[in-house]
Every structure is written in structure tokens, then in C-alpha cells.
């Protein structure tokens, strides 16, 4: 017994140290920087000011936020549409096939997502694998415009974030009591009705968990839209990076990070509140 609690102390303690050292302290530095004055030498001077918060709510930053949120939201919806049927299918097949499928889904994620994004470029570029194949079949006369399009951006984002949606969905679909579906069918419900009135509400916790886990990273993943979309528009990530590395305005970059974190915090709070309501069985109040 004594041994066990010792291990627990070490495990919890080292995790806490790690988080404090590499998450909490750096974040506090960012918060502190957001209240300081930019220094011409490229860092900050220790003079308290609210200027960066006054400056941050400019029309440009609002457009940047709008673009980022629109992109993250569309990515979440597309990922949900792609993941739901797959997760449902996973619960309806034999154990061994399911294990293989989940393994196949996870294996690519042992590689860096940056490398996988470059692999997508090789597939989609004008003289890439897809275009060369279609040209050799004679189906097209000149290369299709695939890379540096919205389509490429969504392909990259949905592909990268898909497992974060599938796994929570699968977990809640697995808990689904199939007797409820049988009962509904016996009572004459049509398939769409069964889906919208039974399956969907019962898997709502999975949908909310998956959507949160896709939406939050999608807000920050600016290198995928940059590499696959051609960097033609600015996202929050680009904005923050530019403030630090080009404009040399660290307080402004820090205040943008603080605002982004606050927005994410609100989303997570909403997620916790709604999942608690679902557990209490009050479905109507969720959305």
C-alpha cells in the first residue's frame, strides 16, 4: 500500500511540476506582457498600460477572428459529418475488424501533422499523384486546380482532426441501448425519425465532446491553411505570430493570445455546463 501511494505522489507531482513549469508560468508571462508597453528594441518595457487591449479591437482583428471562427466552425461541421457514419459503423461490426480499423485510423498520427500536410501537397499539386493519375487515364486534359484551394484546406483540417471526433462519438454510440431503437421500430417509427429523435439526442454528449476537441485546435492550426490554402488570408495564429516576429509588438500579440484563450475557456465552460445538463436528463436546455 505504502509503495502504491509513493508512486501516485511521484506521478501526480511530476505532472503538476511539468504543467506549472511549461504551461502555467509561460501563460502568466503572456498575460503580464499583454499589459506592458512595446519597446523599440523588439521586446517590452515594464510600464503598465491597457493600450494593447484598446488597440486589439480594431476592424482588422475582428475580421481575422471572424475568418478563424468561420474556418474552425466549418471544419467542425464537416468533421462531424465525416465521422458520425464511420463511428456508427464501428459499433456494428465484429470486434477484430473494429480493432483493425481503429488501428489503421490511429497509425498515421504517429507521424508529425506537418509531415502529413506535406504529404497532402504531394498528392494534390498540379504535377502530383492525383493529377498525374487522372491525366494518364485521359479523364482530364489539363491538371485540376486542387492545391491552394478551400477544398485543400478543408481536406487537410478534416483529415488531421478526424480521430478527435471519431473516438468520442464511438464511445457514446457504443453506450447506445439498441433496445430503444428496436422498440421505436416496433411502434412504427421511420428511420429518419429514429435517428433524429432517439440516436442523435442520446449521442449528444459525444457530439459535443468531439466538436469541442475539433473546434479548439482548428482555431489555432494556422499552418495547414497556410500550406494548403496558399496563405492568402490571415488567421488568429498568423496575426499573433506577426505581432511577435514582424511588427515587434509583443504586448499586442500577447493580448491577442489572451483573448483567444478567454474565448476557448468560454467554449469549454459551455461544454461542461451542457454535458452536466445532459447527465441530469434535461435535453431541451442544452443548446
Amino acid at each position: 500500500m505504502e509503495k502504491k501511494s509513493g508512486f501516485r505522489n511521484v506521478a501526480v507531482g511530476s505532472t503538476l511540476c511539468w504543467i506549472t513549469l511549461f504551461v502555467v508560468i509561460p501563460y502568466l508571462i503572456v498575460v503580464a506582457y499583454s499589459f506592458l508597453t512595446p519597446d523599440p528594441s523588439g521586446t517590452v518595457s515594464w510600464i503598465f498600460t491597457l493600450d494593447s487591449y484598446r488597440e486589439i479591437f480594431s476592424p482588422v482583428f475582428l475580421i481575422v477572428c471572424k475568418n478563424s471562427f468561420a474556418l474552425a466552425l466549418s471544419t467542425t461541421v464537416l468533421t462531424l459529418l465525416a465521422a458520425y457514419p464511420f463511428a456508427f459503423f464501428l459499433t456494428r461490426i465484429s470486434e477484430s475488424i473494429r480493432r483493425t480499423l481503429i488501428l489503421i485510423m490511429i497509425i498515421p498520427f504517429w507521424t508529425s501533422s506537418l509531415i502529413r500536410t506535406y504529404a497532402l501537397i504531394i498528392l494534390l499539386k498540379a504535377n502530383g499523384i492525383v493529377n498525374t493519375f487522372l491525366l494518364s487515364l485521359g479523364w482530364i486534359d489539363e491538371p485540376l486546380n486542387l492545391l491552394y484551394t478551400q477544398l485543400a484546406v478543408f481536406t487537410g483540417l478534416v483529415y488531421t482532426l478526424l480521430p478527435f471526433m471519431i473516438l468520442p462519438l464511438y464511445a457514446s454510440l457504443q453506450k447506445l441501448d439498441t433496445r430503444l431503437i428496436e422498440a421505436a421500430r416496433d411502434l412504427g417509427a421511420t428511420s429518419p425519425r429514429i435517428f433524429f429523435h432517439i440516436i442523435l439526442p442520446l449521442t449528444l454528449p459525444g457530439i459535443i465532446a468531439g466538436s469541442t476537441m475539433v473546434f479548439l485546435p482548428a482555431l489555432g492550426l494556422f499552418y495547414i491553411p497556410d500550406l494548403l490554402g496558399g496563405a492568402r488570408s490571415m488567421l488568429i495564429g498568423n496575426f499573433i505570430k506577426d505581432q511577435f516576429l514582424v511588427a515587434g509588438n509583443w504586448p499586442l500579440g500577447s493580448s491577442a493570445s489572451v483573448i483567444l484563450t478567454l474565448l476557448m475557456f468560454l467554449l469549454i465552460a459551455w461544454y461542461f455546463l451542457s454535458s452536466r445538463k445532459i447527465n441530469q436528463g434535461d435535453m431541451r436546455e442544452v443548446i
Partner: protein
């Protein structure tokens, strides 16, 4: 219990301790800016282990060196106008000439410039330009003579622009007849309005590796560095470099020793090694930018020495302009850049 804790601590601490010791030199350079075999030769000849890291922009390098006060990098490669800035903020160590005998190999024309009089803090490494790249298979190179040709509606959707506020604006400013280092807000605004007209034609913004969209046949014309064209032309000879009549933007990168140096002797040894003619030649032939080393220039393979993207002729050199610091005006540039990217 205590034994276990001790073991865990040992496992955590041991690699750190072994890292601290040893004869090393910490080099901080631009990405793809050296022949990797040169580092191996240096290690073999001197027994000094090279810890090599790279950066993508002067600003990123500057920010990192500004934060590291001790035990940082031994050698860095800022561009001329950043040498000036770092010198002003006291971020550099003066060089000890007695440890740099290979200095005699450098091109005297590139020494003792206003950004570092008498080369107290820096020695030139390579220089080059940013101008226009064209894929000759799709666009006749002789039809492109000016930056204004990028605005030709025939190239719509096939244009590459640098994803760098200074580079993109310098091109637009030059096309309007202004200096690429202009700090006049009205001129910067005019350049922004002109870039806004170009944006619908731009397929991709890229300054990490602008040769890639050319090699992928995604773009046929665009703003690019000479060295990138040199490297790309080895894979696809159709990709050529054009110095526009408004003049290209030139820059030079320099070897310096930051104040946070770990081992000053090794730092000098590395800089001296980089100035050896055979080494400078290898680097030049590998990356395709012009070497600042006169002896190495004479040794170059004629294919490299006569490559227009590497060595411009005198007329193109005279028409060009060196990139300089724009000071506080960078905030104006950044504001218009954000507007350009959100439209």
C-alpha cells in the same frame, strides 16, 4: 521508496549533465544556407562538435538572441540591416582578428560598409537578391522586363508573392518608382493599394521555400530569391531568373558572435573555417547565393559563377537597391499587410 525516487532523478538529470560538457560550437543560421558536408568536415578537422539550428527570418533570430542572456549561440548570420540594429542594442561581441587569418580571402568591395564600419562586429558570408522567377515553359522570359508584368491579367491565378511584408512591399514600392526601404506613409499606402489589385492574381504567398510552387507547376511567375531559382533550375531548367528594369532588392548576410556566446574560441574557429576558400566555394555551389569570398569566387564551377541568378551583371547590380531597416515604419507596413491579408 527513496531509492526509486533517487533512480528517477538520476535518469532525469544524467542526460542534462552529459550535455553540458564537451567541446562544442552553437551555430544559428538561416535554413538551407549551408552545405551540410561542411559541418562534418569542420567536426572532423577540429574535433569541435557543431550544434546547428536554423531560423526563417531576421526578426525570429533577433527575438531569440534578445531573450537569451547567457549560454546562447556562438555564431549567427544576420542580414546587414540587422547587424546595425544588433550593434546598436549592444548584442554583439567584437571580433578578434588574430583568430581570423582567413579574413584575407574576403572580397574587399564588401568590407567596411556603413552598417558596420571597419567590420568590428561582422564579416560578410553571402549576398543575393530577390527579383522575378519565371517558368519558361509557360511564359516567354523575354516578355517579362518589369515588376509591373506581375500585374498582367494573363497571369491571373499563376502568380507567387513572398509571404513576407518587407519583400512584398519592396516589390510594389519599386514598381511605383519608390525605394523599397521607403518610410513615407503615403508611399506605403500606394504600394498597398497596388498590391490589393495584384491579390486576385496571386495563387500562393510563400517565403519559406518559394521554389516549391514553381517546381510543382502551381505558379508560372512570381517574386523569388536568386538562390531558390538556382536550386530549382537544377531540377527544372525551365525556371529562370529575371532582374527587372526597376532593379532587384539586394541583401547580404554576415557572421557575428552574439553577446550570449558560450565558447568564444570555438566561435572564431568556426567563422575562420567558413572563410576558407574551398569551404566557401562548397557553400556557394550548394545554396546558390553569391559568396563574399573573393578566393572562393575564383574557384567556382563556371556553371555557378556564370549563373545569372547567382552573380548578376554590373548593370543589374547598379540598378538594384540594398535592403535597409525601416525603423518604426514597420508598424505602418504591418498594418497594411494585415489589411491586405484580410481583404
Amino acid at each position: 521508496m527513496m531509492k526509486k525516487l533517487f533512480l528517477i532523478l538520476m535518469v532525469l538529470v544524467f542526460p542534462l549533465a552529459s550535455l553540458a560538457a564537451g567541446n562544442e560550437v552553437y551555430v544559428f543560421n538561416w535554413s538551407e544556407y549551408i552545405d551540410p558536408s561542411v559541418l562534418k568536415t569542420f567536426e572532423k578537422e577540429t574535433g569541435i562538435k557543431v550544434r546547428y539550428s536554423t531560423y526563417e527570418s531576421n526578426e525570429a533570430m533577433f527575438a531569440k538572441l534578445k531573450l537569451v542572456k547567457k549560454n546562447g549561440y556562438d555564431v549567427a548570420f544576420p542580414s546587414t540591416y540587422f547587424v546595425e540594429r544588433m550593434r546598436r542594442y549592444g548584442m554583439l561581441k567584437p571580433l578578434d582578428r588574430s583568430m581570423l587569418p582567413n579574413m584575407k580571402n574576403l572580397n574587399a568591395k564588401l568590407l567596411d560598409k556603413p552598417y558596420d564600419p571597419k567590420n568590428v562586429y561582422s564579416l560578410p558570408y553571402m549576398w543575393g537578391s530577390s527579383a522575378i522567377g519565371v517558368n519558361a515553359r509557360y511564359i516567354k522570359p523575354s516578355s517579362v522586363k518589369s515588376f509591373n508584368d506581375l500585374w498582367n491579367p494573363a497571369f491571373k491565378g499563376k502568380v507567387l508573392l513572398m509571404d513576407d511584408v518587407r519583400d512584398a512591399f519592396a516589390m510594389s514600392l519599386r514598381s511605383l518608382g519608390f525605394s523599397g526601404n521607403d518610410t513615407d506613409p503615403a508611399h506605403i499606402k500606394a504600394a498597398y493599394e497596388k498590391l490589393l489589385k495584384l491579390k486576385p492574381s496571386v495563387k500562393v504567398f510563400n517565403s519559406d521555400s518559394p521554389k516549391q510552387p514553381f517546381l510543382n507547376n502551381e505558379v508560372y511567375i512570381g517574386q523569388i530569391w536568386g538562390g531558390e531559382v538556382y536550386q530549382a533550375s537544377q531540377e527544372n531548367p525551365n525556371i529562370v531568373y529575371i532582374y527587372p528594369k526597376e532593379g532587384a532588392t539586394f541583401w547580404a548576410d554576415n557572421m557575428v558572435i552574439p553577446l550570449s556566446v558560450r565558447n568564444i574560441k570555438n566561435a572564431h574557429a568556426f567563422i575562420n573555417f567558413m572563410m576558407r576558400p574551398d569551404i566557401a566555394r562548397k557553400n556557394c555551389e550548394y545554396v546558390g547565393y553569391a559568396t563574399a569570398n573573393a578566393k572562393a569566387q575564383a574557384l567556382l564551377d563556371p556553371k555557378t559563377r556564370n549563373h545569372k541568378a547567382v552573380y548578376p551583371d554590373n548593370r543589374d547590380l547598379e540598378r538594384g537597391e540594398f535592403q535597409a531597416d525601416v525603423g518604426d515604419a514597420i508598424a505602418i507596413y504591418e498594418k497594411y499587410w494585415e489589411m491586405l491579408k484580410t481583404r
